[in-house]
């Protein structure tokens, strides 16, 4: 199989690296059928202008045991990486921009760094987000991670921003750090695993108060099914759930949602249980 390695050039034609790049065209399925020169000639959008891929990224192709796409370099403003990814490894070394893994259906998308908003969200004007595969992020993610997610797994080692799993219809999202406001808004089905309950505790007013009926009352829960996940990163993130009493709440009840948010008791809560 093949390994495509893209290294972002230090500068493109002397311009500064602050441009916004739409890299959603870099797809395994497409790369497979193209020669090196055809790939380099691929037009991508940089700050709204069509630019040849080869001008932005330095490509090297090698044979490999697995299908691999590796993107390296300054990627903060490179958006849409891993869009519609379907099989094999898509590896981002560095902080990625928005919309990574949009409409992804299979394989693994990993980010060695942070990622922006809309991780695993819908592609373009589609109604549903990620439909398969695994996204693994060692750092933090922005808002709307797992937006409209339908299937697959998103692992976030760090924090997640606001609107996590908004309007999700299935799938699993696992966050090791804190989460921002509006978790599970409009969530229909699917699973959010939070290794750290403080994000939810901050939303305590929503958890039984009158301002929101988004969540059902949290109940003790034995998350036995988590044992089926064999990813070492998953194990690492969910360590606290093996050590503390675990609770579950169903969301978003305001839309009749049966999604679930699973989280460990805080230490002070654990004493009571």
């Amino acid at each position: 199989m093949t390994r495509w390695h893209f290294r972002r050039r230090a500068s493109e034609s002397g311009k500064p690296l602050t441009q916004s790049i739409d890299a959603s065209a870099i797809r395994r399925e497409w790369l497979c059928e193209k020669s090196e020169s055809e790939i380099n000639a691929l037009e991508i959008t940089v700050d709204g202008l069509a630019v040849s891929l080869g001008d932005v990224f330095e490509l090297s192709i090698a044979s490999s045991e697995d299908t691999q796409i590796v993107i390296e370099g300054e990627l903060d403003e490179v958006h849409g990486l891993g869009t519609l990814h379907d099989q094999g490894d898509f590896r981002i070394v560095g902080n990625a921009g928005h919309g990574i893994g949009s409409g992804m259906t299979g394989g693994t998308l990993s980010v060695d760094g942070d990622a922006g908003d809309y991780v695993g969200g819908p592609y373009g004007a589609h109604k549903v987000g990620m439909a398969g595969g695994v996204i693994k992020i060692t750092g933090h993610v922005g808002s709307y991670a797992g937006h409209r997610m339908r299937r697959g797994v998103i692992l976030v080692h760090g924090n997640a921003g606001q609107m996590l799993a908004a309007s999700a219809v299935a799938g699993t999202i696992c966050v090791g750090g804190h989460v921002g406001q509006y978790v599970a808004v409009g969530m229909k089905r699917g699973t959010i695993v939070l290794a750290n309950s403080s994000g939810l505790v901050n939303q305590a007013d929503e958890m039984g108060g009158t301002s929101s009926n988004r969540f059902s009352p949290p109940m003790r829960f034995d998350p036995a099914f988590l044992n089926l996940y064999r990813d070492p990163m998953f194990d690492e993130i969910t360590l606290s759930l093996r050590q503390l009493p675990v609770f579950r709440t169903r969301a978003d009840r305001t839309v009749g949602g049966l999604g679930e948010v699973i989280f460990p008791a805080g230490a002070e809560l654990a004493i009571d249980v």
Binding site: S216, M219, R220, F221, D222, R250, L258
Partner: protein, 316 residues
Amino acid sequence: MSDGKLGENNGDLLQINGVRIEATFAEAFDMKATRIIITAMDEIWAEHAASAMSGFGTSVIDCKLEIDVERRLFPIETPDGRPGIALLAFAMSGSELEKQIVRRAGQCVLTCPTTALFAGLPVEGVPRDKRMPLGKSLRFFGDGNQISKVIDGTRYWRIPVMDGEFICQHEAPRTAGIGGGNFLLVARDIMAASRAARAAIGAIDSMPDVITPFPGGVTRSGSKVGSKYKSLIASTNNEYCPTLRGITNSQLGEGENAVLEIVLDGLTFESIADAMRRGITAACESCGEHGLVAVTAGNYGGKLGRHHFHLHEILS
């Protein structure tokens, strides 16, 4: 709250060792029953045959038969003076009981080295139409070389097999039985529920005239009648599923996170009531301080089964 061993019943409030006993009842049904006895050269072969015979016999829904070991018998208690095991079997009709027992005996006892098979209820005086075939059917395996013996008025068959002769009583009586006695153990967590259930089964295990046919005597798949899927006659009992609290009606309160059920079939009302009392008492006494929260029972409002086991009456 009581520290004593006996339940204290103040009106509707009954507790045993701090465990709440609900003011409800188990509803049970008429079934057809029989007892059979398997003997063998030693306990090991007897256990193998009994285990095969009683497997896949948890519920009439799909097993057609509810069957389990009743108790181990000393050689002096068995018809041929060898180590033995008594099993009780229950079915919804006499003909189904008959069919299943012969089928299972043919596959699980006739096949098992050194075993013999006997009726476990007295045959004498039982009318012909209340007798089910054992050797009467199985003898044909002998292909004409089987030998009949009538001893003290009872007919037996000696069927030639590779280890000698399979000895099998001609017929076994069937009798009236009661199925579906039950109680539910409501606990803080599955660990406590499991411990309480095992204590209950430990107390019931050796009791005569009653069996607990689910695996290890216990089930966790309590069911309600009907389902949103039309082809299903029963589905999960939402009200006792801890994971459905908050989204469907629930009988479970705060801190009631795991429920296990003991289902009992017995030859008499008394045997089931006795077993329920002993099982519940054992569970409460051993686990009242360790996470067993309440004991309740399953019924259909009293409309489907004519045998009602009221927990407060049984335990008073």
